[in-house]
Symmetry: C2
Subunit: 107 residues, 2 copies
Amino acid sequence: MYFSYPRDFKERELAPGIVTKLVWGERIMLSHATFQPNSTIPTHGHPQEQTGIVIEGELDLTIGSETRRCRKGDAFTIPGGVEHSAVSGNSVTVVLDTFSPPREDYM
Amino acid sequence: MYFSYPRDFKERELAPGIVTKLVWGERIMLSHATFQPNSTIPTHGHPQEQTGIVIEGELDLTIGSETRRCRKGDAFTIPGGVEHSAVSGNSVTVVLDTFSPPREDYM
């Protein structure tokens, strides 16, 4: 109930080359996403707040009208409703995203 | 406003040998914690839900009356109010914790 292992996570392909593993409680959903090099999440938005941190590799992240290159250890907060997109760099990139409340469309 | 870099994170010593870097939005707080080997977070609880994942190393985590060894990629969810404690293994351990709502005592 309290502990989850990668084999138990729900897996979801977010876009070509981008697979995430999901685990959630009542208020928070963790999304441990692996991007193959040069993979794109198209512009989208959702009502949930999203906060994340780059674990490995790098990501060009656009939030609203602002684009920054995020590297290992860099974090971001996307308020609910703000459109965003992402493109991974030339190496495999791992991003830990969180959503609150959890995204029902990912369950 | 959307992007945060490690130099901007709020740093906090959670216990001897355990330092975390904090970043938060309105609904989620990320806590990127580094444990020196064999460091302990004593038993405690808080009303916020806590969900986390081990990024590096290993951690003996006790939630309620259940203890498990969590390794890289293992995740956990601690409902609000449930007591928990943690002891890191023999190597430096990195854990990404999240709290919802954000912990005001950490701001």
